[in-house]
């Protein structure tokens, strides 16, 4: 009789993310995953139909984690500045806590799995963020711009700073640490750019 081992399942999920980030979708294989987890290939196929299924489920789970972290303490009815600050906090926390998940998400959300994964994990989040965006424009707290320009200005600076933090180096190769002061500075500039 087979029993379900949740520790093993967590290990499989963790290793799947590691291998995907390291070798990409093409380099990812069930055999390698089984070997790295110390389980048989058959065990993997008990839980997943095939490689496709495993990759989709991995992406969807990351999306769901991201979604639940992003909505912590956040409401679409918040004032624009307060809401965006919450998004910055939540996004920075998630990126710093789960760099591998973020890297894997980047990879999968730019692959042929994109539609499937986004639909299954982030459709609700999209609605919340669209409400927030529309509310802010309606309340004249945000200038009317396209969502793409909004996203680029609103989060681009944060993700760039997080990249420095991940690399741990500044432009001249000296150690870099993302401080609250630098974050606040960037945030204020973003607000300045986006508010009427």
């Amino acid at each position: 009789m087979r029993t379900r081992d949740t520790n093993k399942e967590d290990l499989v999920k963790q290793k799947a993310i590691e291998i995907l980030v390291k070798l990409g979708i093409e380099g990812f294989g069930m055999n390698r995953l089984a070997k790295e987890c110390g389980v048989s290939v058959a065990t993997l196929y008990i839980y997943y139909n095939d490689k496709d299924d495993l990759i989709k489920k991995t992406g969807i789970e990351i999306g769901q984690n991201f979604f639940s972290e992003m909505t912590k303490g956040f409401l679409p009815t918040m004032s624009f500045k307060e809401g965006l600050r919450k998004q910055w906090e939540n996004r920075a926390r998630f990126a710093l806590k789960h760099p591998l998940k973020v890297a894997c998400w980047e990879l999968l959300s730019h692959s042929s799995y994109r539609e499937n994964i986004l639909n299954e994990s982030l459709s609700e989040f999209k609605v919340i963020m669209t409400n927030f965006f529309n509310n802010a424009i309606e309340k004249k707290e945000l200038i009317p711009i396209s969502k793409e320009v909004f996203w680029s200005i609103a989060y681009g600076p944060l993700y760039s700073l997080l990249r420095f933090e991940n690399e741990g180096k500044n432009f001249s190769g000296a150690p870099f640490k993302l401080t609250q002061k630098a974050t606040d500075e960037a945030f204020e500039l973003v607000i300045k750019a986006l508010t009427p």
């Binding site: 087979r2 379900r4 294989g29 196929y45 839980y47 095939d50 490689k51």
Partner: protein, 75 residues
């Protein structure tokens, strides 16, 4: 899901191509004992996965051998 894991059979096969797959599709589709089946043709072992409450490994092996495919249970 808890109950289903005891009803999954996993085999290494040589069902490599779309054409190969078609040769066994009808028989597997029409077998009333098989709830669901799929083959991971991206995998080197072309893993065949069968969900069934009643069917035995031998029965599956017989079906595949009849169509001249190899079929080895994976443990």
């Amino acid at each position: 899901m808890e109950n289903i894991i005891n009803n999954i059979l996993i085999f290494a096969t040589n069902i490599k191509t779309k054409n190969d797959k078609e040769k066994i599709s009808t028989e597997l589709n029409e077998n009333p004992e098989i709830i669901q089946w799929n083959i991971d043709q991206e995998d080197i072992d072309c893993v065949l996965r069968i969900v069934s409450e009643t069917i035995s490994e031998e029965q599956i092996i017989n079906i595949l051998n009849k169509h001249n495919f190899n079929c080895t249970p994976l443990e």
